[in-house]
């Protein structure tokens, strides 16, 4: 595509509010999606322990967590529906041309979502009348389909980054290879990256709730177990995630070099490329960034002479916007991942030495911070991948402004979404806090 054409497309006025709206709704829904993907496993681990060892405390945790899961899954189901509407309402250009291709992974996601919703209904409301192990078994499909749904949705997103498996003729898709669409090149690293992120977000967030309790002096078994189960799962996965993320970054350097150049502030293609930590990017210059010579080349190809593609490899119109946002989001994600790793290592060391959780107060402050840290890291990752793909919606094939609706009034739906989701977010948190208070009081739920 010619750069001037892209510029002409960018004049379409709805693309900015449409992107803002997609970012708002997706950024909100992804938190609930994390709970849908990962929380059932964590609840099942507690229930397994409760059944296996007749551990009433673990059983109580499982029951309460499943009630929280019920609220979050309901909100997630409806905010997910909004996204399906938005695919057409905000991006009719994308759907008209590529709906048939994108529909392949989403179709499979539909099956997983069905099974997830059905077994969630059984699991959440079967506590009382279904026998113990049978109840446990009705939860297994929720955990599996949560993963399956994540695989399917990530296949769709990674296809947008590495489109393939179809034939275009005269601007129309005339043939599709569903396997190649589903198992596109980017899904290999994007999908595990997101699934691990979901487990870390949920694990660290739930653990943070009990860490706060422990910090307030409730060092009972209920709080220790409520902290221990999710924290262990999340902490074990953290180093795996760092490895997967590192692999993903190298794959992006090869497959989407301009996105990578935006992430790392690589202005010009060359060798001996330095790495910047932090810093602002203004008119091709980096301000206030910590410059580490050769580091970027080393990270990409393990030697300083590795050539790294720079932003100058494409016309300015084909470079992502908001480079500072992309770069700082990436740095925040990586930095927070190492904070999470530190918390896990600390716990591991103390546990190895004396088979107990750390006593230091500021460990518990750190454990609380891990919850929001994991959440922020995950959101930053999405900013990197989505803003970094701009101006393309389907990488190198369709720009976001070509995809956007020609309807006026996106600013109105954006306003409505911001108000609605702000209220929804506040109320959801308030409801969860109310449940916690009720449980603390020990009164009837």
């Amino acid at each position: 595509m010619h750069a001037t054409q892209v510029l002409a497309g960018a004049i379409g006025q709805q693309v900015v509010p449409a992107r803002a709206q997609m970012a708002t709704t997706l950024g909100f829904h992804i938190i609930l999606a994390c709970f849908g993907i990962a929380f059932p496993t964590i609840v099942l681990v507690a229930e397994y322990r409760g059944l296996r060892r007749s551990d009433d405390v673990a059983m109580l945790l499982a029951r309460r967590w499943s009630q929280v899961l019920g609220v979050l899954v309901a909100v997630g189901a409806v905010t997910g529906t909004v996204l399906s509407f938005e695919m057409g309402l905000l991006w009719p250009g994308l759907m008209r041309t590529y709906g048939a291709v994108l529909g392949v992974p989403f179709g499979f996601e539909g099956i997983f979502f069905f099974l997830e919703a059905i077994f969630t209904g059984i699991y959440l409301y079967g506590w009382q009348r279904l026998p113990g192990w049978m109840h446990f078994c009705t939860g297994i499909p929720i955990a599996i389909t949560g993963l399956g749904g994540a695989v399917a949705v990530m296949a769709a997103n990674s296809w947008m980054n590495q489109p393939g498996g179809f034939t275009l003729r005269g601007g129309k898709v005339v043939a599709v290879d569903p396997w190649q669409v589903f198992f596109n090149k980017a899904t290999v690293y994007e999908t595990p990256h997101m699934i691990l992120a979901a487990y870390m977000v949920v694990g660290f967030l739930i653990a943070a709730v009990y860490a706060a309790g422990i910090l307030r002096g409730h060092r009972d078994r209920y709080h220790r177990l409520g902290f221990g189960i999710p924290f262990t799962i999340a902490a074990i996965l953290t180093p795996v995630q760092i490895f997967v993320g590192d692999t993903a970054a190298r794959a992006i350097a090869a497959a989407q070099p301009v996105k990578f150049a935006a992430i790392e502030y690589v202005t010009r293609t060359g060798r001996d490329v330095p790495e910047y930590l932090g810093g602002f990017y203004v008119n091709g210059k980096v301000y206030f960034g910590l410059r580490i010579p050769y580091a970027d080349s080393l990270l990409v190809g393990f030697k300083p002479s590795t050539k790294v593609t720079g932003l100058n490899s494409v016309a300015p119109a084909l470079r992502p916007p908001a480079l500072t946002l992309i770069h700082l989001s990436f740095d925040a994600m990586v930095g927070l991942a190492f904070l999470l790793l530190l918390a896990g290592l600390w716990t591991l060391l103390v546990w190895r030495r004396r088979r107990a959780l750390p006593r230091q107060r500021w460990f518990w402050w750190l454990a609380i911070a891990c919850g929001p840290a994991a959440l922020v890291a995950m959101e930053c990752g999405w900013i990197v991948t989505e803003v970094g793909r701009q101006p393309w919606v389907v990488y190198q094939l369709m720009t976001t402004s070509q995809a956007a609706t020609t309807n006026g009034g996106v600013i109105d739906s954006l306003t409505a979404v911001i108000i609605l989701y702000a209220v929804l977010g506040v109320v959801t948190v308030a409801i969860l806090r109310m449940l916690a208070r009720r449980w603390r009081r020990g009164g009837p739920a």
Binding site: Q67, A77, A100, E109, G110, P178, Y222, M434, W439
Partner: protein, 347 residues
Amino acid sequence: MITDVVGGILLTGLTLYAALGGADFGGGLWDLLAGGDQRGRAPRQLIDDTITPVWEANHVWLIFILVIFWTAFPAAFAAVMTAAALPLWLAAFGIVLRGSGFAFRKEVETLHWQRLFGAAFAFSSLIVPFFMGTVIGAIASGRIPAHPAHADLAVWTGPTSLLIGALFVAVCAYLAAVFLTREASRREDHQLRQYFAVRAAVAGTVSGALALATLTEIHSSNPALFHGLTHRGLALVIVSAACGLAVIVFVTTGRRPQALRPLSVLGVAAVVWGWGVAQYPALLPGTGLTLTSGAAPHSVLVTVVVIFVAAAVLVGPSFLLLFWLHGRQLLEGENHNVDGAADNLRT
């Protein structure tokens, strides 16, 4: 032809969403009309019991329809989403309010908050089917252009659209009242049975009247669709009318309670398929888009069929299990009370 098969799959999804999701929407409508806290307590409780464990699963049919629509017929999907954007936005926001309102209402204790979330749930149960109906009306009345650049009020505010919107609301209320009558009689709660039987009969009559009014309106405004409904779709129109009459008779006389649900669903299914058959093979009547010309590449259609078969094999039995457990009252949400009892463990 595979395009016909995929069209059938889309109609099957619509039918199931109309029947299952529709009844859940209707539950919200009766919740809205149940009156004050005291008077409305018993019917609201029954509505809550019947919707709670199943609404999310029933709701997925909507996602299924949207995905199959854009996958198999992307151009028509893009056209509908552009031309009828406003009612679709309102329906989407209504869905958010409805689901979250329903879920939140269960968790709060104070009457004040229960009322607020209940109102969000009940009011949105009214607007969502209405706006969805107007969009279907816009398609059926041939007002969606193949390449719309902008949304247009005229697309979905024609008499056919508004009538179909009202019809959707009435049919949801009718289905819910029928299902609730059946549920009340299974629980041998005669007072509630009577309560919902009256409402089922009224909603059924209103639905029938609205259907007749729509048909009359179509006769003058849309001869092609009218011709389709009274020729190719005639058998289905008759089936739906017969089912509706039979349900009204059974619900008022109290006979054959076990036939109520299947008959009401069959009646609604006949309407959905009657519409499909009447406008066949047009996808967006009035444009060149047909099942064949608007279809995705062959391999995608095959994938859609595979997905549908997989759904039938995996999702079908799971649904049956859910409905079976729910029907045997094994899914009672008494999680709450047990929590309190278990509290002495926290030492």
